[in-house]
């Protein structure tokens, strides 16, 4: 089992923030800056989990999640939506699209990695 997480996030600072926190806690991180790049990377290698931003420049995170779930090998992989979308139904939409969990931005650096670990333990 790989110890690498895939982070799909277009905002460079947020991508770096997650990478920094995760690597500080012993994970390895692969980055993708767009939905397409994210899907390609997800298909080309095996990851521990995928952290998915919802607002992406080329297509939204829900579509990415739905696309990934159509792939046999990616049926069971945890997909964690990390988003600042906080309107009604956003969480439900994410779960419907195939995400395993939902973490609201802004992330709390004190608890972020703990939440990720908890999700990985469950799956």
């Amino acid at each position: 089992m790989s110890d690498t997480l895939l982070v799909i996030e277009d905002n460079e600072q947020n991508r770096y923030l997650m990478k920094f926190l995760l690597e500080k806690n012993g994970f390895r991180v692969e980055e993708a800056q767009s939905a397409i790049e994210g899907i390609e990377k997800a298909l080309s290698a095996k990851y521990l989990a995928i952290l998915l931003d919802i607002q992406l420049p080329d297509m939204d995170g829900y579509a990415v999640a739905r696309k990934l779930r159509t792939v046999e090998e990616l049926r069971e992989i945890p997909i964690i939506a990390v988003t600042s979308y906080a309107m009604m139904g956003d969480k439900e939409k994410a779960l419907d699209a195939g995400c395993t969990e939902y973490i609201e931005k802004p992330i709390d650096p004190d608890s972020f990695v703990g939440e990720i670990k908890k999700i990985l333990m469950k799956s």
């Binding site: 905002n11 600042s84 979308y85 906080a86 802004p106």
Partner: protein, 568 residues
């Protein structure tokens, strides 16, 4: 005054009179009539008794339906008697009976007697004729009698022993007509016989005919004959003074157009019979008539005004209705615009809050990383300053979250989730969450939860949000004293109260504190940081949960905010 004027009212006249003055006078008229009836019309007061024969020859002389004598001759002889001081007595009978009585001297005066040479031998007559008369044939309808020659082969009723009997026989004989003569004792009988069809026509003087022919169904014909002058007749030789007195008064009466003579003629010969009323009754009638007219006129004017006003009101009403329709349409359009504007605003706020969160994510994230020393060791001053950045960033996040909540509520996107949870645990949690803030200010928080409190069904996250808001406010506005949280369960309600010993709220500001972006006293906003949205959101959330929020506060003493939620 030793004489009373006799007034006789026919039923028909009374009816006209009643109709003329209408119902308000009905009772009065009846009283009048009753009074008049009880007065004896025969009563006269004088020295010389004079007996007058009365027979049926209306309107010249007849017994009225009231049983009293009436007619032109009676009016005149009453007038003469009044002036002469005679006491009149009336004897009724048929024409021939009265002539016999007159001949025998049983009566003193016989009215309505035409002078003939033969009668002149038997009776005494005065000189001035009372009235002139002529006779006329009245034909039954369909009898075909129109002129003299039509009488051939017809049956005609005539008064026995009368001048017209003799004259009529001479008339038909002179024209060689074969007319059957039927005799009747009086004109009434004569008309009745013709009316029954036992004769084709009847003869009467034109006074009687004008008055009665129609009621018997008889028609006027062109057969006129026997012009005659009519007098009072008296027994021969003994009544010269009486007759002279009559002549003298008749001459006087005929000179004065306003005399009883002319009034009587007018009264009895006109179709519209005039009623002679006492002056006071005429005045009364006039007054009442005028009053009635005035009231009718008044009611007409009033009705007219009411109608006019009603029309005006209807018109105003219509205009108002139209205006209301127009205004409603305007309002609907304005409301739609406002709704659209509201949705645009909410969408804008949602987008903005989202966009603000993205940079805030990295600010809070990296501040946290640095503060924790994950990126390397920091000196104390750096830790303190980074702590300040962290606080400000968290405050900014609160602001953004509140704005997002408000916009969600206004866009109708905030959903109340229902789930069962332990209220006691939630209360412990929020108190624990805010206690560091309270400790910093040296404020103890006392939590009291009723034993009845157990599981509660509702939106746990939102209820906790409400309590955090109230507790944060209580701590923020209290410098010394204590904070109390009470939770009780009276009659299927949950009441959670947060009390403080803080600055309190003026009564007039209580409603204001729930308005968004408003903190009472602008001076306060510098002293007490906050979004100004907390209570607005809190009340909206409570309302959405079907509950209410109650505030009791005294300036300088403290405030109690109570959230009352229904149990379902």
């Amino acid at each position: 005054m030793n004489h009373k004027v006799m007034t006789i009212l026919h039923d028909r006249e009374i009816m006209r009179y009643l109709i003329m003055l209408k119902m308000p006078l009905l009772s009065l008229s009846l009283v009048m009539f009753t009074l008049l009836s009880f007065e004896s019309p025969f009563a006269t007061a004088g020295d010389l008794p004079v007996t007058v024969g009365v027979y049926e020859n209306a309107p010249k002389i007849f017994i009225a339906e009231t049983g009293q004598p009436a007619g032109i001759f009676i009016d005149i002889i009453e007038d003469v008697a009044k002036k002469e001081g005679w006491t009149l007595r009336y004897v009724t009978g048929t024409w021939s009976q009265q002539l016999d009585r007159l001949a025998k001297g049983e009566i003193d005066l016989m009215p309505d007697v035409a002078y003939t040479a033969e009668r002149g031998k038997i009776y005494a007559f005065h000189q001035v004729p009372v009235i002139s008369s002529w006779d006329k044939v009245y034909g039954r309808k369909g009898s075909g009698i129109q002129s003299l020659l039509d009488l051939n082969g017809k049956r005609v009723v005539v008064l026995e022993k009368s001048v017209q009997h003799e004259a009529f026989v001479n008339l038909v004989n002179s024209f060689g007509l074969n007319t059957t003569i039927i005799l009747a004792p009086d004109f009434k009988k004569a008309f009745e016989i013709a009316a029954r069809g036992e004769a084709d026509g009847a003869i009467a003087n034109h006074y009687y005919g004008a008055m009665h022919a129609r009621e018997f169904g008889l028609e006027d014909t062109a057969v006129l004959f026997n012009p005659s002058a009519l007098f009072f007749a008296a027994p021969k030789g003994t009544h010269e003074a009486l007759l002279r007195a009559i002549d003298a008064h008749l001459s006087e009466l005929k000179k004065d157009s306003q005399s009883i003579y002319y009034r009587s003629l007018k009264r009895w010969t006109f179709e519209e019979v005039q009623v002679q009323l006492p002056v006071w009754l005429q005045i009364l009638g006039l007054v009442l008539g005028v009053a009635l007219l005035m009231s009718l006129l008044g009611s007409f004017v009033l009705k007219h005004q009411v109608n006019a006003r009603t029309r005006e009101l209807q018109q105003i009403n219509q205009e108002m209705e139209q205006r209301i329709v127009e205004r409603t349409a305007e309002l609907a359009a304005a409301m739609k615009e406002a709704q659209v504007a509201d949705q645009v605003k909410s969408a804008f706020l949602a987008t903005m809050s989202h966009e603000l969160r993205t940079p805030l994510n990295s600010i809070i994230g990296f501040t946290g990383i640095l503060h924790q020393g994950l990126a390397g060791p920091l000196n104390n001053e750096q830790i303190k300053q980074l702590g300040m950045v962290q606080n400000s960033a968290h405050h900014l996040l609160e602001l953004i979250n509140d704005v997002l909540d408000i916009s969600k509520i206004e866009a109708g996107q905030l959903e109340i989730v229902r789930g069962t949870f332990e209220l006691r645990r939630s209360l412990d949690k929020v108190v624990h969450l805010v206690s560091p803030l309270a400790e910093k200010k040296g404020l103890p928080i006392y939590l009291h939860i009723s034993d009845a409190i157990d599981k509660f069904t509702g939106d746990q996250r939102r209820i906790e949000q409400i309590l955090i808001n109230l507790l944060n406010n209580a701590i923020k506005f209290t410098e010394m004293g204590e904070i109390r949280v009470d939770c009780s369960l009276p009659d299927s309600k949950v009441i959670i109260s947060v009390s403080d010993t803080g600055i309190g709220i003026k009564a007039e500001d209580i409603e204001t504190i729930f308005k968004p972006f408003l903190q009472i006293d602008t001076g306060l906003s510098r002293k007490y940081e906050g979004t100004g949205l907390g209570l607005s959101i809190t009340r909206k959330l409570v309302t959405m949960m079907g509950g209410e929020i109650d505030v009791k506060s005294k300036e300088g003493v403290g405030s109690t905010f109570s959230v009352i939620l229904p149990i379902r």
